[in-house]
C-alpha cells in the first residue's frame, strides 16, 4: 500500500560536490507513504509528483529513498553520502501520455499484481524508467 513522493524539479547548489551529495533532482524519490496517506498542500505540483502503487507494502519500495553511499568507509567505519538518492525516476523519458498526466494531475497510478482498480500503467511498463544511478541500470525487479 504505497505512494512515492517524487521530486519534480531540480534543486541546485553552486558547489558541484554539495550539489551531487545534497540536492534533490527531478525524479528522485523523497518519501514513501501508505495508500491511505493524504499529502500536505505543498506536496504536489510544481515541486512534487506522486507515484501511487496500490496494494504494494511500503517496505517493498522503501529502498528507492535510500541515498547512494560512498563505496568505502571513513577511518571510523562510517559510510558518507555520495549522492542524495540511489534511484531516480526518468520522468522526462516516460511516454508522452504519462508525462502529460503527471504535468496535469501530479500523479500516476501503477497497477501491480492482482490489483483490480483503475491504473495508468503497470509496474512492468514503468520500472524500466526507474534508474539505479550507481550502476546506470534500470530496474528489472518485480514488486
Amino acid at each position: 500500500m504505497a505512494q512515492i513522493l517524487v521530486m519534480a524539479r531540480d534543486n541546485t547548489h553552486a558547489d558541484p560536490d554539495t550539489d551531487r551529495r545534497g540536492c534533490y533532482k527531478r525524479g528522485y524519490p523523497v518519501v514513501v507513504m501508505p495508500d491511505t496517506h493524504t499529502w500536505g498542500r505543498e506536496e504536489g505540483l510544481p515541486t512534487f509528483v506522486v507515484i501511487k502503487i496500490p496494494g504494494v507494502p511500503v517496505e517493498k519500495v522503501r529502498k528507492y529513498i535510500e541515498p547512494q553511499l560512498e563505496d568505502t568507509t571513513d577511518e571510523r567505519g562510517r559510510y558518507q553520502i555520495y549522492r542524495r538518492r540511489l534511484w531516480q525516476f526518468r520522468l522526462d523519458d516516460l511516454p508522452a501520455a504519462a508525462r502529460n498526466k503527471l504535468a496535469r494531475d501530479g500523479e500516476l497510478t501503477i497497477g501491480v499484481g492482482d490489483y483490480t482498480g483503475d491504473y495508468d500503467y503497470t509496474w512492468t511498463q514503468v520500472r524500466s524508467y526507474l534508474r539505479k544511478l550507481k550502476t546506470g541500470t534500470d530496474e528489472t525487479e518485480n514488486l
Binding site: G40, R41, R78, Y79, Q80
Partner: protein, 359 residues
C-alpha cells in the same frame, strides 16, 4: 533582516499542513537562504498522534549565521513534549534502523524535538548527527530542549544520541555547537563495541567546539565524549560500560565543571571542577524516560552553575520551559530544573531567598 518562511509539518495532515514529513519539507524548501535572504522554519505538529517515520538529511542548502534553518515545535501549540518522552499528540521522529536527523549544514536550530531509534541492525544509527566530510570555517548549530532515545544491546558502536564528528581539515574554530537542556538515554552496545554514547563531539583534525550545557545522559555506554568540548551542568547516570565523561582527544574547554555522576572521581572522567561524584539521582520515572528531578533529589538539585549570563551560550529556562530562577539562582544540574510551587515561606532557606530576591 532575513524573512522567516514558516511551513507546517504534520504527519497527520491536520489543518494548515504544508508537508506531512520533515523529509519532504527539506526537499521542498532546500535553497540558498543567503541569496534569498530567508530563514527556513519547519514548525512541527502532531495533530493525530502519528509519528514522523522518515529519516531526514539536511544537506545541499546555503546558509550563514543570520540565514539559518530552524526546526522546532512551538510550545504554545501543544505538540511539544513536556520534558519527557511522550507519544500522543507530541511530535516525534521514530526511525527503524536508520539515523533520525542527519545534519550536513552548520547553521541550524533544532528545538523541542523528540527523536528515537527503535531498532538497530546496522552501523551509524544516531538520533541526531553531523558527520559531514566537509566542514566550513564558521557555523552555529543549536540543539535545545530535545529528547533522543536509543536502544540497548546493539552492535553499533556509532549508536549515539547526538553525534558530532569533525574529521575535516577544513573545520574552522568558528564552527560551534550549542547543546542545551537535552536528554539522551538508552544508547548502549554490547561487548566488544561499547562506544555508544549519549552525546559525542569528536575532533579528528578539525577545530570546531561544542558546548554541552544542562544535558542528561542515562543508560549509555558513554554519557559524554568530547574534544575541544565544554561540559557544564550535565548528569551522566548509569553509563557504566564506558566512562560518564570521556575525553576523546585534546582537552576539554576551560570552564567545564559542575557535572554530576553516579561513578567515582577516578572512573567518571568528569572534566573541570565542582563536579559531584557517586551521586544517586531521584528522577521521576527514569525507566519510562522521565528525567525530571524529584523535589527530594539530593544528587543534582541546586548544585549547578548559573549560565544566565554565560559568555558562550546564555539561557534561562529548562527542558520544559520553566524558568531556572534568573541571574542569581543556584541552578540544578541536568536538563530539568526542579521548580517547586510552594510559597516562599515553605521553601528551603536557599530557595526562599532566591524566590524573593530573584523572581
Amino acid at each position: 533582516m532575513a524573512t522567516e518562511v514558516v511551513k507546517i509539518v504534520d504527519p497527520d495532515n491536520g489543518s494548515g499542513t504544508d508537508y506531512t514529513s520533515l523529509s519532504a519539507w527539506e526537499a521542498g524548501q532546500q535553497q540558498d537562504l543567503v541569496t534569498n535572504d530567508r530563514i527556513a522554519v519547519a514548525k512541527c505538529r502532531c495533530t493525530g498522534g502519528t509519528a514522523d517515520t522518515t529519516a531526514v538529511t539536511i544537506s545541499g542548502w546555503t546558509t550563514d549565521l543570520t540565514h539559518y534553518i530552524k526546526i522546532w515545535t512551538d510550545p504554545a501549540e501543544g505538540y511539544r513534549h513536556e520534558g519527557k518522552w511522550q507519544t500522543g499528540n507530541k511530535y516525534r521522529i521514530s526511525i527503524d534502523d536508520d539515523a533520525g536527523i542527519i545534519l550536513e549544514e552548520f547553521d541550524i536550530r533544532l528545538d523541542g524535538l523528540q527523536v528515537e531509534i527503535t531498532n538497530v541492525e546496522n552501523s551509524g544509527r544516531t538520533a541526531i548527527r553531523n558527520w559531514a566530510d566537509s566542514w566550513p570555517s564558521t557555523g552555529e548549530t543549536y540543539i535545545t530542549n530535545c529528547i533522543v532515545k536509543g536502544v540497548t544491546d546493539t552492535k553499533d558502536y556509532n549508536h549515539e544520541g547526538i553525534g558530532l564528528y569533525d574529521a575535516s581539515s577544513t573545520g574552522g574554530s568558528g564552527v560551534k555547537f550549542f547543546i542545551a537542556n537535552c536528554v539522551a538515554y538508552n544508547f548502549r552496545s554490547i561487548e566488544p563495541w561499547q562506544w555508544a554514547a549519549g552525546f559525542d563531539h569528536d575532533c579528528e583534525s578539525g577545530s570546531s567546539s561544542a558546548y554541552f550545557y544542562n544535558c542528561t545522559a542515562h543508560n549509555c555506554d558513554h554519557g559524554f565524549i568530547g574534544t575541544n568540548t565544554k561540559v557544564t551542568n550535565c548528569i551522566a547516570n548509569d553509563c557504566t560500560s564506558g566512562k560518564d565523561f570521556y575525553l576523546y582527544a585534546g582537552s576539554w574547554i576551560s570552564g567545564s565543571g559542575y557535572n554530576a555522576t553516579d561513578l567515582s572521581d577516578a572512573n567518571s572522567g568528569a572534566p573541570g571542577s565542582n563536579n559531584r561524584y557517586e551521586q544517586t539521582f531521584s528522577f521521576v520515572d527514569a525507566d519510562n524516560g522521565d528525567f525530571h528531578l524529584q523535589a527530594s533529589d539530593t544528587g543534582a538539585k541546586g548544585y549547578g552553575l548559573n549560565l544566565y549570563n554565560d559568555s558562550y551560550y546564555a539561557f534561562q529556562n529548562d527542558i520544559d520551559g520553566q524558568d531556572r530562577g534568573g541571574s542569581g539562582a543556584q541552578w540544578d544540574i541536568g536538563a530539568d530544573e526542579c521548580v517547586v510551587s510552594l510559597p516562599p515561606q515553605l521553601l528551603t532557606p536557599q530557595r526562599s531567598v532566591q524566590h524573593m530576591l530573584v523572581r
